[in-house]
């Protein structure tokens, strides 16, 4: 007996559980792209293990006609391909949902849920009968479920063939074998089940002017377009694909007529060396960057302090993953907020940017170089695994051809020649930013960069007054930085006394949650901070609301801590909604969290959504 599911077009979530290293990634990409090409907004999240082959992996596809970019928290269709996780995968299906499984081996004991519909397709048997070779059979079994879903959801099979033809343009025989597997699943499902399901897709026209891209690729593009020429790094999940992408783009678009590369790509021996190389290169006038994750930032602390105090630009991408320590390298969190803001010993504070999606990764990458050179200090871009490694639907990236890099106060030879003598740290403009010079330009402009105590003349000092003068001027520079940061995005249409404060990849889930809350006549405003130091607008928003939910993806409420340390906000107004499971935050989590505070208990139970 199966429950009756009401018809829902282009609005449901599919989750696919497989074993990593079995080719499921291609099947999932195929599904995502075929939906996107049919004009249907779609979200994809990959939950993968820190492993090469043989461990469980899941892929979540949200078909979302309204263009939501976060998890809903529900699983309407589960494709359970992994025997090892079968039991928990079955449990996770939202009541009224569907379970697709490989019925080559019937599993009656595990199917004791009467509130879901089970679709058994003998995928292994079909593939074993039609393909040769163990490896091929395993790979084709995963392609085969694409055919099953195509039948159940009414996907456009011609569109799938077109995508396969693009992917395997150089290996046409693979198009045929993949199509054969898809057709097997498709035909069997059509013959044995009522197709399509009440949950299915219909063509739309809502993806024009959009791309599907991950944040690491977008950030790498930003570095390329910003004119970065030195890239140094040490491999670490989930940042590696940013560097891979930069190299790929560089090899294609940064090669001169003689085949020489207009960029240096250096795989460092560790993160300490990687940041040292970036600092050395930017000190010497090149735009340089590194990408890492939390453990790498830990190692870079000493050098970040040097760059802060010696006033050397640097650009660091921190693709945050679950900590502490090694943590869960392939799961997402926003757990490096404090680490990055105050990296290194002594009085240090660093400029941080908080992109919310791949689109912002692109623009903020460019901005990071401008800010680093303008402020002569490290700038950290705090992305995370969810933004960095998942494909997001984003508006087309745009490039303004009139853009020219802001190289900051770097004296030219002509400017140097006009000077009687050059002193590195004298604040002539009153903004706390002093002019610097580059090696090789003129002997009169030579200075000594150092992390030891120095006077405004750039000379070594152990004199208290001289030391303090420089330290105080750095504060003045910090005040200038505050004015240059990207403003917080504020949605105060509700004019409410209650607000949500958040940052980064929480954005999609919050915007969806706001729709739900507002539909229930609950006025909630929203501010997404985009940079540290916080600007005036942040202070104003905090002051203007009586209750503030601080939504973030870590255990220790790091954004809340930063707000209490760096703004005048009354601590008592701040309520934390903390999501730190390692999975991206869902809209239902936020709705439930807000309702729990603002409404009596029975209302919450009525929500009924799976909390994920």
């Amino acid at each position: 007996m199966s429950p009756v599911t009401p018809t829902r077009v282009n609005d449901f979530t599919i989750k696919i559980g497989t074993v990593n290293g079995t080719g499921s990634a291609s099947a999932n990409t195929l599904l995502m792209k075929s939906l996107f090409r049919s004009g249907i907004p779609v979200m994809g999240k990959n939950y993968f293990p820190s492993n090469i082959q043989g461990l469980p992996t899941w892929y979540e596809i949200r078909v979302t006609r309204d263009g939501h970019v976060a998890r809903s928290g529900a699983v309407d269709i589960m494709v359970a391909m992994n025997a090892e996780t079968y039991a928990r995968d079955v449990k996770e299906v939202t009541p009224g949902g569907y379970l697709v499984y490989d019925s080559t081996w019937p599993r009656p004991a595990l199917l004791k849920r009467e509130d879901i519909t089970v679709v058994g397709v003998p995928l292994a048997r079909l593939c074993n009968e039609n393909f040769n070779g163990v490896r091929t059979r395993i790979l084709m079994k995963n392609i085969c479920y694409t055919g099953v879903l195509a039948a159940l959801l009414d996907l456009d099979v011609a569109r799938i063939r077109e995508l396969l033809a693009e992917t395997y343009a150089k290996k046409p025989q693979l198009v045929d074998s993949n199509m054969k597997a898809i057709q097997l699943g498709y035909d069997y499902t059509r013959a044995n089940f009522t197709c399509p399901l009440p949950l299915h897709v219909e063509k739309m026209d809502s993806t024009g002017g959009h791309i599907m891209i991950d944040g690491n690729t977008a950030a790498a593009l930003g570095c390329l377009f910003a004119g970065a020429t030195v890239a140094a790094w040490y491999p670490i999940t989930p940042s590696t694909s940013l560097m891979d992408a930069f190299k790929m783009f560089g090899d294609r678009m940064r090669v001169d007529a003689t085949g020489r590369k207009n960029f240096a790509f250096i795989q460092a021996e560790d993160e300490l060396a990687a940041i040292g190389m970036v600092i050395g290169a930017m000190w010497n006038g090149a735009r340089a960057f590194t990408a890492t994750s939390g453990p790498g930032i830990s190692l870079m602390n000493e050098f970040l302090g040097l760059a802060y105090y010696a006033e050397i630009p640097a650009v660091v991408f921190d693709i945050q993953r679950v900590g502490p320590s090694t943590g869960m390298p392939t799961r997402t969190q926003q757990c490096d907020l404090m680490e990055c803001a105050y990296a290194s010993h002594g009085d240090t504070r660093h400029v941080c940017l908080y992109p919310a999606n791949p689109e912002e990764c692109f623009y903020m990458a460019v901005q990071a170089f401008d800010l680093a050179e303008r402020l002569q200090t490290p700038v950290m871009v705090l992305s995370d695994l969810d933004i960095g490694m998942n494909d997001w639907m984003c508006p087309d990236l745009k490039w303004d051809d009139s853009y020219r890099p802001d190289r900051g106060k770097v004296l030219s030879k002509e400017e140097i020649l006009k000077l009687e003598k050059f002193y590195r740290f004298i604040d002539k403009d009153g903004d706390g930013i002093t002019a610097r010079t580059l090696p090789g330009v003129h002997p009169r402009a030579a200075y000594f960069a150092r992390g030891s105590g120095h006077s405004q003349y750039g000379a070594y000092t152990e004199d208290s007054a001289e030391y303090q003068q420089v330290l105080d001027r750095l504060l003045k520079k910090w005040a200038t930085a505050r004015k240059l940061m990207p403003r917080a995005v504020i949605d105060a249409t509700a004019g409410a006394s209650c607000g949500i404060v958040s940052l980064g990849s929480c954005d999609g889930a919050i915007r969806e949650a706001l729709e739900v809350l507002r539909a229930r006549d609950m006025g909630v405003d929203y501010m997404r901070v985009r940079a540290f130091p916080f600007g005036e607008e942040v202070e104003k928003f905090l002051a203007a609301h009586e209750v503030l939910f601080v939504v973030e993806q870590n255990r220790d409420a790091q954004l809340r801590a930063l707000l209490t340390l760096e703004t005048a906000v009354d601590k008592a107004k701040l309520r934390s909604l903390l999501h730190y499971s390692g999975l991206p935050i869902s809209s239902s989590f936020i709705v439930e969290g807000v309702l729990a505070e603002l409404q009596p208990l029975p209302e919450i139970e009525a929500q009924g959504a799976a909390r994920g």
Binding site: D256, E269, A281, P439, A445, G451
Partner: protein
């Protein structure tokens, strides 16, 4: 380490190099190291070598880490930018700076603590990349600034000033560099300016990583009886294997050596190093026999010195990376950014 500028009063009779500069133009701030410190002799040798080579002062980039040795980059070529970085991490700063602008001369000054303990990893990897720089270790076997602890280059059985004996085997920078594939490996003594100056010149001209390990006695913490890096001990156990002369490209070399005695090595810019063997069994171009010979003499308690190994044919970092001859930091933005049309092409992959 106070910053005292030396008065720049040049007597008209001071000799000038090809650029019209006197030796004073290659000096820096006054040293604040202990009187008699071996490091100051090395500084003087660097001044002499740079003046002799006729490097434009602003084209010299001076890099260091932390320690007594690392302070010395302030004491020479004040017209060149300096970077006193963090302990043991100078090679990465040098790598980044060199990546940004390959046209300048990079000289790194480090110590045995800075290189062989905290900085051992970065030192090794700079060698592997054949980073084009001259790397000088001012090696005294002791931590001076923290008052006399053994360093990783302290010899077995050497005695500290306070009386303890070292029982851990030393890391020898020269043997290590040879093992790692270094393309220029030399050892010298701070007190031997005649040997050191041409080595520094050759090292600066070498296209790739040039290591000079300079034994440099610490007069305060490692110049007592029982120390194997004291002046007395070093002088007694110091054995030049090869004498190197550096000859700039514009000088006629035929008069400088007699065939059969001296082996000339041609550098990338046409200059030459003339290697005069003092030890008939020594071959500076054979990595394995060089290493074996150095080890053999070490067993006898002797420091073999000179240009111990050279291989001019190795590819340096930029050669391997495929970067253009023009420094990366000089490339105009227009050649770096693909523009809106370039972006449109890229985006088609993501539709």
């Amino acid at each position: 380490m106070t910053f005292i500028a030396k008065p720049k009063v040049a007597h008209p009779s001071l000799p000038k190099n090809a650029l019209g500069f006197t030796r004073r133009d290659y000096e820096g701030a006054l040293s604040t190291l202990c009187a008699g410190c071996g490091h100051d002799s090395i500084t003087a040798a660097i001044v002499e070598a740079s003046w002799g080579l006729g490097i434009e002062p602003q084209n010299m980039v001076k890099l260091s880490g932390i320690g007594c040795s690392s302070k010395t980059t302030a004491y020479f070529v004040s017209g060149g930018h300096g970077f006193n970085s963090v302990h043991g991490r100078m090679p990465s700063i040098a790598m980044g700076a060199n990546a940004a602008n390959r046209a300048l001369s990079y000289i790194g000054v480090s110590g045995d603590g800075d290189t062989l303990s905290i900085g051992l990893g970065q030192f090794c990897h700079a060698i592997r990349r054949n980073l084009n720089m001259l790397y000088i270790i001012e090696n005294n076997g002791v931590y001076g600034l923290t008052k006399g602890q053994f360093s990783a280059s302290a010899d077995l059985g050497t005695k500290a000033k306070k009386g303890e004996t070292n029982f851990q085997p030393p890391i020898d920078a020269v043997l290590l560099a040879l093992t790692l594939g270094a393309s220029f490996v030399a050892r010298s003594f701070s007190g031997d300016k005649e040997q050191l100056v041409p080595l520094i010149q050759a090292g600066l001209k070498h296209q790739g990583f040039a290591l000079i390990d300079v034994l440099s006695p610490c007069v305060t913490f490692n110049d007592h009886e029982g120390s194997t890096k004291s002046y007395a001990y070093t002088r007694e156990h110091y054995e030049p294997a090869v004498h190197a002369d550096f000859v700039p490209p514009e000088r006629e070399i035929s008069v400088d050596y007699q065939a059969g005695e001296t082996v000339p090595v041609v550098m990338h810019d046409g200059s030459r190093i003339l290697l005069r063997k003092l030890d008939a069994a020594y071959d500076s171009t054979n990595r394995s026999t060089a290493a074996a010979h150095i080890q053999e003499r070490m067993k006898a308690g002797e420091y073999l010195t000179g240009l111990l190994f050279i291989e001019e044919s190795q590819r340096d970092f930029h050669d391997i990376n495929g970067t253009p001859d023009a420094p990366l930091n000089s490339l105009p933005f227009e050649t770096l950014s693909p523009g809106s049309q370039g972006l449109e092409k890229v985006l088609s992959r993501y539709r």
